[in-house]
């Protein structure tokens, strides 16, 4: 925002073609800088041309390989979408899926899982969000993988994306969305009536609690079947099965269940009427009768945090949706699963009552379990055992005393579990026969291992010298490779310490040169000659941080850098420097240059 004098206000200036900045309202030129976007070059201190500017981390901040992964995933998901004909007009679903995939990538969800599984799970999740009628089975049949495997990946994905905790309340699939899709496959044209009836049937199924715990496809199949037949269309069970991905037994079961409900006995017209009534009556939006417990719920459990709870702890919108999906919670017949369970319960109860009346009082008072009547022996045994266990209850610690002799366990019984001699013999034969292949494999493996070992031993005996030489070489190579710098240094330090102080000056300098690795540049003859001369003059004061270094070392090192002839010249230099500090700087640089061979200047050990 720049201030324009003419308009006397702040304006967002406009810059046309990288030229001057102009005011958006009056056009007055506010800034005259011209920007060029081509790369510019400048000369640096050494005279080389360099690109001007800095490297800045890109705003997008994704590496190349990640971008490639995302693009590939996007393409795969698009292929999947086309193959299943999810949405022909827009890439909306795939866009959503792609965003899920990005998050999954960041959370390392794709590691250790096949990428196609993760892609399918993301796409399925996107379909669920957008209420597209696609089942997990469709995806798994496209990818040829077990639907439960895909299902587990999908559940883990939901967990990773924190869908549970953000109260997004993964909406349950409404089976009605599938009706349209399936009907289109079955009857390509003129299927409105069938769709409507099927919807009604489904709604009544929902109310009768046939829906809980069932795959939505099964219910849809049954509803569609009934509706098609009732409109006179010839469709067989196998057609439905093919479309809906359920098996015939399931379809029959659903039909039977529907028959058992109240609506099953109505005719189609009656059913339609009833549904219409219910639909219109629900428009009055009556609040359902909930128990007192729920009156205390003040906040909503759905994601619309700012709305007030309407019913069941949900805001009005979510409540409506919930009713549509599940068919409500009141009324209707019991779920078929419960009906079956109830029958079993009643049957069991009647058996117990009969048994009770037959057996009389002694059993009822002694043993506490009427079920054990059939297994009375077992009951008494168990009661005795429990008592024994009760005495030794203190837990594992208490029984550790007897753990090693197990004296409380019935030996007779244990012996009963073991074979006698004859049985052992036969069992051995039988087992070896049964597992012959395995034993053969094992034998072959062992033989191979033994042979290999023998071969290596034989080789060893044949040529010991060669082997030893080879070993030495290997050892040397290993030594070189394995050594790190630190190890070498430590070794050197140890050796130096071991060797003790140098005996002569010459030795000392030689050692120092070894350490400084200047050995290739040293003229050793000159070195010897040097120490034959009288003691060299005082060395100049040192700037470096060394506690003890020989003046001769210094000289020799300088000598080491250049030819040996320069020694004399240098001595003169040094003499002069003792008085002046003028030329000292040059010297100093030279010193530093020399000693730049190594990074650390430690004189350990000297």
């Amino acid at each position: 925002m720049v201030y324009c004098n003419n308009c006397s206000r702040n304006v967002t200036g406009e810059r046309v073609y990288d030229g001057p900045l102009c005011c958006t309202f009056c056009g007055k030129v506010l800034e005259e800088y011209n920007f060029a976007s081509e790369p510019q070059f400048v000369k640096d201190s050494a005279g080389l041309s360099k690109l001007s500017g800095n490297f800045v981390k890109s705003v997008q901040d994704i590496s190349d390989s990640r971008r490639r992964t995302l693009d590939k995933a996007f393409d795969d998901m698009r292929c999947m979408k086309d193959a299943l004909s999810i949405d022909d007009y827009s890439d909306d679903v795939v866009e959503t899926a792609r965003r899920f995939y990005e998050i999954a990538l960041e959370r390392n969800f794709t590691r250790g899982r096949r990428s196609e599984l993760v892609q399918a799970a993301c796409l399925y999740l996107a379909c669920r969000q957008k209420k597209k009628p696609f089942l997990l089975i469709d995806f798994s049949s496209y990818l040829n993988i077990n639907v439960y495997e895909l299902g587990s990946v999908y559940l883990q994905l939901c967990y990773v994306l924190y869908l549970a905790e953000t109260r997004d309340l993964q909406k349950l699939i409404d089976p009605s969305i599938f009706i349209h899709k399936f009907t289109n496959v079955l009857i390509p044209e003129g299927n409105d009536e069938v769709v409507k009836t099927a919807r009604d049937i489904l709604a009544s199924m929902k109310r009768d609690w046939m829906q809980t715990g069932r795959k939505p496809s099964g219910l849809c199949g049954a509803a569609l079947y009934i509706s098609a037949l009732s409109h006179g269309l010839k469709c067989s069970k196998s057609d439905i099965i093919r479309i809906v991905h359920i098996c015939e037994a399931t379809l029959t079961k659903r039909l039977v269940e529907f028959e058992n409900t109240d609506s099953g006995s109505l005719t189609i017209e009656e059913l339609t009427e009833k549904e219409k009534e219910l639909r219109t009556s629900s428009l009055t939006k009556k609040r359902p009768n909930t128990g007192s417990k729920e009156a205390s719920i003040h906040e909503v459990l759905c994601k619309h945090m700012e709305k007030k709870p309407f019913a069941y702890g949900l805001c009005e919108e979510c409540y409506e949706e919930f009713m549509k999906v599940s068919g409500g919670l009141d009324g209707g017949s019991d779920p078929p699963a419960f009906q079956r369970a109830e029958k079993e319960r009643i049957a069991k109860l009647s058996i117990e009552e009969n048994a009770k009346s037959v057996s009389g009082s002694p059993f009822a008072s002694g043993s506490e379990k009427p079920e054990n009547i059939g297994v009375s022996e077992g009951a008494t045994n168990q009661a005795a055992m429990d008592e024994r266990d009760n005495d030794k209850l203190p837990g594992v610690d208490g029984s550790d005393d007897e753990s090693d002799n197990f004296s409380d366990i019935d030996d007779f019984e244990v012996d009963g579990y073991l074979h006698n001699e004859e049985e052992k013999h036969y069992k051995k034969i039988i087992w070896e026969e049964m597992n012959r292949e395995y034993l053969e494999e094992q034998a072959a493996k062992e033989a191979a291992a033994a042979a290999a070992k023998e071969a290596s031993m034989a080789n060893y005996d044949k040529c010991p010298e060669d082997l030893q030489a080879a070993q030495e070489l290997a050892a040397a190579a290993a030594e070189v490779v394995a050594k790190s710098r630190k190890e070498r240094q430590q070794k050197r330090a140890a050796e130096a310490k071991k060797a003790g102080p140098a005996q002569t000056a010459a030795e000392a300098t030689r050692r120092m040169l070894d350490r400084k690795r200047l050995s290739s540049k040293i003229n050793y003859d000159a070195l010897e000659k040097l120490f034959d001369e009288p003691v060299a003059p005082e060395k100049p004061k040192k700037q470096r941080n060394e506690s003890h270094s020989d003046e001769k070392e210094e000289k020799v090192s300088k000598m080491g850098k250049e030819e040996g002839d320069l020694v004399d010249k240098y001595d003169d230099d040094n003499d002069e420097e003792g008085d002046e500090g003028g030329t000292f700087d040059n010297n100093l640089d030279f010193e530093n240059e020399v000693y730049d061979y190594e990074d650390d200047y430690e004189y350990d050990g000297f």
């Binding site: 997990l136 089975i137 439960y148 559940l155 549970a164 905790e165 109260r167 997004d168 309340l169 349950l172 609690w209 809980t212 715990g213 069932r214 795959k215 939505p216 496809s217 128990g291 459990l301 069941y312 702890g313 919930f322 919670l329 779920p335 699963a337 419960f338 369970a341 109830e342 319960r345 109860l349 009552e353 379990k369 045994n381 055992m385 429990d386 266990d389 009760n390 209850l393 029984s399 550790d400 753990s403 090693d404 197990f406 366990i409 030996d411 019984e413 244990v414 012996d415 009963g416 579990y417 073991l418 074979h419 049985e423 052992k424 069992k427 051995k428 087992w431 597992n435 292949e437 395995y438």
Partner: protein, 202 residues
Amino acid sequence: MADTDQVMEPSIDNPFISSPALHPRPTLQNVVSTVNFGCTLDLKAIVRHARNTEYNPKRFAAAMMRIREPKTTALIFSSGKIVCTGAKTEKQSLTAARKYARIIQKLGFDITFNDFKIQNIVASCDVGCPLSLVRMSTFHGEFLVYEPELFPGLIYRMKKPKVAILVFPSGKIVIAGAQKTDEIFEAFKNIYPVLMSFRKTK
């Protein structure tokens, strides 16, 4: 003290289990435990000398031994570790493990009974009235998974005690993953009012 294998309190004057006034108790179905015998075992020798053992090395690397009382199965590994399954109570599991130890000992191995630990207890129960899984999933979305396409029951993962509860629309539930019997009962106590509030109203 109280026998935990019961379905309901012993009493003659309430024959209707499905009456909601009565608080049902979960029945333990399976207890899984592990124990370490502390020495390597030769499975081939074991299968040869014991009547009730099977060992198929190509299929699985452990021998399976069964005893009649308590009716359990044990997986015996050559490392000396045992997994004992099928017992109905914790005590029974301990007895069974010790019986297996005695058998192996008699076969000539020098074993010690180390680190007996109950790994998993499974119990089932019947609350007696139909439950709305749909409604439950709308409420407690954080803890539960309900995917009718994948599994007909609802899986509720309780944090404390750390157990998983499978809820079915018939009103039957399965509690699994507990390490002690008390945890089972505690979990049931926690979940019972929740389930009751989601039952189908007539």
